[in-house]
């Protein structure tokens, strides 16, 4: 996409300026983004592969991995269903307060992670609205797995909806209306027309949602209570090990999360290259 109508040839002073700008940009990207990433892996393997494997295989680490997977396995599908429902209502029907609903869906992105956890403590904690009632019935939400799941759902709520709404808006509903007129039932229309049309955007949203769900720290930190092996997800295990000066252990678990980030980035980039049109323009946001 170089300028087709550039009339003047590019002289050497300008080429030098281009080179200088490229150099500054790359130096920044390397120093600020690539170096932290490299640090994670270098520190993780500082004492060799054997120490790395030992650090990963410790029971607390394995418990943290398991818990992280469980939390994501609950939070992501729930937000997926919500995203489809919200996008369907917002892009296929006209109703009052639509703009407000859109703002509400985006809201969790503008809330500090700590506050996302805090609100659930105030709701379900010992001094919270439902605290005494829950206590009387022996239900534990805060400092337990349900709290982790709730905080994670809150933080990752917008991802899927946010990818789907602009795409479904742009696609319009003509194909779906045609399917209905030709006699398709609601579910037939959804599975044979709507879903194939949005599948790549859906995958894209799920990918981002999952990465954030597994990596969330601030919100789960507030509701977790840091009970080792029971309520510590991988990011919390990283924190605890780091604070105990177990750097190899901390970076070993961190390297798994960094790997997840790299896989997410690669898959995301691949989706953008291959199915860019089917994912459509998405607004930048708090991913």
């Amino acid at each position: 996409m170089t300028a087709p109508l550039r009339s003047r040839p590019v002289g050497w002073p300008r080429r030098l300026a281009h080179g200088g700008l490229i150099l500054v940009a790359l130096v920044f990207l390397v120093l600020f983004l690539l170096l932290p990433l490299a640090t994670v892996f270098v520190e993780a393997f500082r004492q060799g592969i054997a120490a790395y494997v030992v650090a990963i295989k410790q029971p607390e680490a394995l418990a943290a991995i398991r818990l992280t997977l469980i939390v994501a396995a609950i939070a992501v599908p729930l937000n997926l269903i919500f995203g489809i429902a919200a996008a369907w209502a917002m892009t296929r029907f006209e109703f009052r307060g639509k703009a407000l609903l859109g703002a509400l869906i985006d809201l969790p992105f503008s809330v500090s992670p700590v506050i996302s956890g805090l609100v659930y403590v105030l709701l379900f904690g010992a001094q919270g609205w439902f605290g005494p009632w829950l206590d009387a019935h022996g239900v534990k939400i805060i400092f337990a797995v349900p709290g982790l799941v709730l905080a994670t759902i809150f933080v990752t709520l917008p991802f899927v909806a946010r990818e789907l709404i602009p795409l479904m808006q742009a696609q319009g509903s003509e194909e779906e209306q045609a399917a209905r007129v030709l006699g398709a039932s609601g579910w037939q229309m959804f599975f044979r027309v709507t879903l194939p049309n949005i599948r790549w955007a859906l995958l894209y949203g799920v990918l981002l949602c999952n990465a954030r769900a597994m990596g969330e720290f601030g919100a789960v930190s507030v509701v977790s209570g840091h009970i080792r092996g029971l309520t510590t997800t991988m990011p919390l295990e990283v924190e605890m090990r780091y604070n105990e000066y177990d750097y190899v252990g901390a970076f070993a678990v961190a390297s798994l999360l960094a790997l997840l980030a790299l896989i997410t980035l690669a898959a995301k980039t691949l989706l953008e290259w291959r199915y860019g049109d089917e994912i459509a323009a998405h607004a930048p946001g708090g991913h």
Binding site: L33, I84, Q177
Partner: protein
């Protein structure tokens, strides 16, 4: 009311509203309720406390500076990625999203290790008298890290759609390259840059995970507001935590409103210049 061909209005809207109500609105109502329990006197006491003021100043001031820095470097990186061709461009372009994808705790311990006095970068900065780790400067570095992608990603589509003939016209009329940039290109980008600035600012203001490891968290010096909320919770000061949380929430809502107004403004701008 016209006949609807498409099914599922009631169930999809009802489900979305119920879900939002339970997950977002009810908890936020609890925050508002608990925060209001502190009263006006309690609020002035809380906000008047030197430690609260210092934390808010660091979170807001640091986020402002980081967002400003990100606008400059984000414009440069976005420009280079959109306008120039060089080996590895697509790889670097994908790398821009790293702060979105990398869990904040991981970024936090990595930055902290990198800038510690014996770290890869810290060992070169320390002899120069530049202390990054465990100082407000470290808070700034972490805030730059988390806010960086917002500016670049907001800017890129706009940069790509800029009409080259405007620049050509300016240059054929005798404008220097820098004049074209500051008088023609920059004014066209201004609304987008402001949006990116606000997004980066909102993110940095509430950031927790990537900051607390590098900050050192000394009260009055390098303690951020979200950490103060956590501290209050740990001391069972629920009302104080809720009130401080509500204050920060209102600040980011104000920003959110600003962003949407700016987006509307830049949309109108784009229409007018088309």
């Amino acid at each position: 009311m016209r006949h609807r061909v498409l099914p599922g209005f009631g169930i999809s809207l009802g489900y979305a509203l119920a879900y939002l109500g339970l997950i977002v609105l009810l908890p936020l109502a609890a925050l508002g309720w608990k925060a209001s329990g502190i009263g006006i006197a309690g609020l002035t006491h809380l906000l008047g406390a030197p430690r609260t003021l210092a934390a808010l100043r660091l979170s807001i001031g640091g986020a402002l500076l980081a967002a400003l820095f990100n606008v400059v470097i984000g414009l440069l990186v976005g420009w280079v990625l959109v306008r120039y061709r060089f080996p590895g461009r697509r790889l670097f372009d994908a790398l821009v999203d790293l702060p979105f994808a990398l869990p904040t705790a991981v970024a936090g311990i990595a930055l902290s290790t990198l800038y510690a006095p014996n770290g890869w970068l810290g060992q070169w900065l320390e002899p120069l008298g530049i202390k990054v780790a465990y100082t407000p400067l470290g808070v700034f570095v972490a805030m730059v890290f988390v806010g960086f992608p917002f500016v670049v990603r907001t800017l890129q589509p706009v940069l790509a759609s800029l009409e080259r003939d405007v620049e050509e016209a300016a240059e054929s009329l005798g404008a220097q390259r820098w004049q074209t940039f500051f008088r023609v290109i920059l004014p066209m980008l201004a609304p987008t840059l402001l949006t990116g600035f606000a997004l980066a600012l909102a993110r940095a203001m509430g950031e927790y995970g990537s900051v607390i490891f590098i900050a050192g968290n000394l009260p009055m010096h390098s303690e951020i507001a979200p950490l103060l909320i956590v501290q209050k919770l740990e001391q069972f000061d629920y009302a104080g935590a809720a009130a401080l949380g509500a204050v920060m929430l209102l600040l980011s809502f104000a920003l959110l409103v600003m962003v949407s107004l700016l987006q509307r403004w830049s949309g109108r701008w784009a229409e007018r210049t088309r």
